[in-house]
């Protein structure tokens, strides 16, 4: 009985550890994707002087189509008013985060979302 119990406990730990490296890698790639999409969106918004609905939708589409985030759970806050040259535009993206350990035996209180924000100067001339 004790042997069977020990084997099951070992199995749970081993499964957790085995998948942790790849899941950490995926977590890191997803964070990078959010940041890249945000940076590219900010560069585009700088030219237009605001985060237009098209730019915001484009960022959402990129995250959901290319990086397989759940579109309904992506939250984008951005400067949508026309901003003149040398003034700042801001944006942040909150996107759902996966998990690193398959079985939550370590009770890590990780944030359930990625939140990345950025600030860029507007290039727009009236």
């Amino acid at each position: 009985m004790s042997k069977a119990l020990a084997e099951w406990m070992t199995l749970i730990i081993v499964i957790n550890i085995m998948f942790a490296p790849i899941l950490t890698y995926i977590d890191s790639l997803q964070r990078e994707a959010v940041e890249v999409v945000l940076t590219e969106g900010a560069k585009e918004a700088s030219i237009q002087g605001q985060f237009t609905p098209q730019i915001i939708q484009g960022m959402k589409d990129a995250l959901s189509n290319q990086y397989h985030f759940d579109a309904s759970k992506i939250n984008i806050q951005a400067t949508t008013t026309l901003t003149l040259r040398n003034q700042y535009l801001q944006a942040s993206i909150e996107a759902p985060r996966g998990f690193i350990f398959i079985l939550d035996i370590f009770h890590l209180n990780q944030p359930l979302t990625f939140k990345e924000s950025t600030k860029i100067m507007s290039e727009y001339i009236n």
Binding site: I13, T24, S28
Partner: protein, 165 residues
Amino acid sequence: MSTALRTILLVVLFAFIMSLQVNLDADKTSTFKMKNALELAVHDGALALSSADLANGKIVFDQNAALNNIQASLDTNLNLTSNAGYVYTPNANSFFKNNLYLVDLEFIDDNVTTTYPYIYNNPNYNISKTVNGPSIIAIMTTDSPRWFNGSDTIIRQAAVYEYKK
């Protein structure tokens, strides 16, 4: 007993792989974060133009204002604090743990050359780049914020923002 030993060996092996991977991941994340932030910073810096020269049809950077813009951008986007714009100290909740240094900042504008394409060479950092107009080139470096012990890795990135003529 042998099962316990095998299990311990397996756990130690995976712990080693995991720490190695987390360290490498820190290097990769530092690299792309620095690259993205530096690109936005040189973009903001390049918006600081001398209006007097612009009125004469020349693109000349207001270098003090450009440095201020770069500093403000890096402080915000990487969560750092800087006094003079060349040395950046990470804030408590920044991804970075070691100081970041803006080791080179160069302005190529109509005060330097009026012929483009212009070949920019920086033998110190082994950079050669053809620019098609007035440009700002920034190079930044830091030690990777590794979570586990390992040899230090220096992260260095360069970014160029150019006006195409």
